[in-house]
């Protein structure tokens, strides 16, 4: 039995589409009910619907053998997992954004609001810029709009939320897309099932 962690929300819908196309998820529909665990006994696969930020944790701890996680979350969590395939879905980019017309005062630490603490620290450390991290859990744009932070580090899809709030991207950090990740131990002991999944998903 293979256990696959699928993110909930918009990314989950795309992931479900991919899995369905690959011949998985034959006996049910994504989000058809509020069940968090769905088992396809014929296909020998269990699917867990997990909050996107927790998929890496479920896979790293071996509860799920495979998972679909954004490369932004992989970069932030640095889970000890295999990153087997770029699924090409959930595409966006990690960026630094600030209020339009913002002028950086280099005499003081840059106040950076973000959900991605590790990513932000690494990015500014590379530049040798002293920063003060303000960790937030959502609606990060508000921090720059309301003056809690000088800049934000967050993922940007269309850029519309930024624009609507008078913010603009100042630097791209890296491209983001969803990846198929695997638990390292499962990769050895469930090699056949995982390689079959990889091949079916285009790896």
């Amino acid at each position: 039995m293979l256990n696959i962690a699928i993110p909930t929300g918009r990314l989950g819908e795309s992931a479900f589409g991919l899995l369905k196309k690959a011949g998985y998820f034959t006996g049910g529909e994504y989000g058809a009910d509020r069940k968090l665990v769905f088992t396809d006994k014929t296909g020998g696969v269990s699917y867990f619907l997990i909050k996107p930020a927790d998929v890496c944790t479920y896979v790293e701890h071996g509860v799920a053998d495979l998972g679909i996680a954004g490369s932004d979350l992989i970069a932030e969590d640095e889970p000890d997992v295999y990153e087997l395939l770029d699924l090409g879905i959930g595409k966006c980019f990690m960026a630094v954004a600030s209020p339009e017309g913002y002028f950086e005062n280099k005499n003081s630490p840059l106040r950076v609001a973000t959900k991605y603490v590790r990513v932000a620290k690494a990015f500014f450390a590379e530049k040798g810029r002293e920063i003060e991290i303000i960790k937030l859990s959502g609606s990060v744009e508000a921090a720059a709009v309301l003056g809690l932070a000088d800049v934000i580090v967050d993922i940007v899809e269309s850029g519309r939320t930024l624009k609507d709030n008078g913010l603009a991207v100042t630097e791209k950090v890296f491209e983001v897309s969803s990846r198929l990740i695997a638990n390292k131990s499962a990769f050895i002991f469930k090699e056949k099932e995982i390689k079959s999944a990889l091949a079916r998903l285009g790896g």
Partner: protein
């Protein structure tokens, strides 16, 4: 004293089995202090990151540290000895930050070190001991081995500089073949060559089979020495009970400045994280003036404990319940008699509260209470 081996915890029973394996291979037990001068770790910062090391001031003002690692202490200790091979095993606690760097952990490690022994034989011995150790934890296991020489070849073939080396190592470690191909494109590596290498990275094959693939990839290249050594190892373990459990897995990586030969990581079925890690670290040994190099491995007993799950609920062979007004000397005498007879005996004033336990027999004194 009557010692009932069945009363041992799984971890203790495992340790006794491992001890037997190591002693039969000529390894002697070594005990270590719990602390070491902090400077030892500061000087070898890439081997043991100093972040999160618990430090304190010694009586003479020296900065001391609770040990985050045993290998450095082994090498430091060896440096003062006459040259020759030293084989030892240990069971020690080390102190480190957890992976999330949110809390300190006290980890029990059982390790094996062969110091001052160069050449293929000590490496083979360490691989064999690692495989036998994993088999004791769970007969369904895999010892994944790689070779720093092969990794160096990969880095030199793909990389364009120090930054690429770090990136490449991380991509290999994650079996991230799409990232490797992207890096190859960036550095103008022919797609065919990059593709052949990524196929090796993505697979975990039995050592013997994998060596043949590696030979085709690097017929006389920089990896040749590493491939040759892997071939010799594959040949030497042929026909052993653990041959089928030893895999070549290039995604096992480590630091180039310390490790030079075979590196390995051990997994047991049913546990998500590796329980064993080690390899040949001649470059680290050289820093301590050790001629001949060194090899070893450590088993993380905390991971093993997690694999075994919680301790089985155990009771006692006998429970004696007494209360205020009972003749204490009689209670004491009854308990001693049972204990002399080899029975694990709990004496409790009133019936024990809390988690229910099983008792072989219950002896109630008159004032033991209603529940008795």
């Amino acid at each position: 004293m009557v010692l009932n081996l069945q009363d041992l915890s799984k971890e203790d029973a495992l340790y006794l089995s491992l001890r037997d394996i190591y002693q039969r291979a000529g390894y002697e037990y070594s005990a270590f202090n719990k602390f070491e001068e902090y400077q030892l770790y500061r000087e070898n910062i890439a081997f043991i990151p100093t972040k999160g090391i618990i430090t304190f001031n010694g009586i003479d003002g020296r900065l001391m540290a609770l040990k985050p690692d045993i290998t450095l202490s082994v090498l430091k200790g060896y440096a003062g000895l006459p040259h020759g091979e030293q084989r030892l095993y240990y069971r020690e606690n080390v102190f480190r930050l957890d992976k999330r760097e949110s809390e300190y952990r006290e980890i029990t490690q059982v390790g094996v070190e062969c110091v001052g022994g160069g050449g293929l034989y000590p490496t083979l011995e360490i691989i064999s001991l690692a495989a036998k150790s994993l088999a004791e934890i769970n007969p369904s296991y895999a010892l994944c081995a790689s070779h720093m020489g092969v990794l160096r070849f990969a880095v030199d073939s793909f990389g364009g500089g120090e930054e690429d080396e770090k990136r490449l190592s991380s991509l290999i470690s994650a079996k991230n073949t799409h990232g490797l191909m992207e890096l190859a494109r960036k550095n103008n590596i022919p797609a065919e060559r990059a593709g052949a290498f990524t196929r090796i990275v993505s697979s975990t094959r039995k050592l013997g089979e994998a060596v043949n693939v590696l030979k085709r990839l690097s017929p006389k290249g920089a990896a040749w020495e590493g491939v040759s050594e892997l071939e010799e190892i594959a040949s030497a373990i042929k026909g052993t009970e653990y041959e089928k459990n030893i895999m070549l897995d290039i995604s096992v990586t480590n630091d180039f400045s310390y490790y030079n030969g075979v590196i390995m990581r051990g997994y047991v079925k049913g546990h998500p994280a590796p329980v064993l890690g080690g390899g040949r670290y001649d470059f680290l040994a050289e820093r301590f003036g050790v001629a001949g190099g060194a090899a070893g491995f450590a088993i993380d007993f905390s991971e093993v404990t997690a694999f075994y799950g919680g301790a089985a609920k155990k009771g006692f062979d006998a429970l004696i319940v007494y209360g205020d007004g009972d003749e204490i000397a009689e209670v004491f005498e009854a308990a001693e008699k049972l204990r002399e007879a080899g029975k694990r005996t709990l004496v409790s004033k009133g019936f024990p509260k809390g988690e229910p336990r099983e008792y072989g027999e219950i002896i109630c004194f008159p004032k033991g209470g209603e529940s008795c």
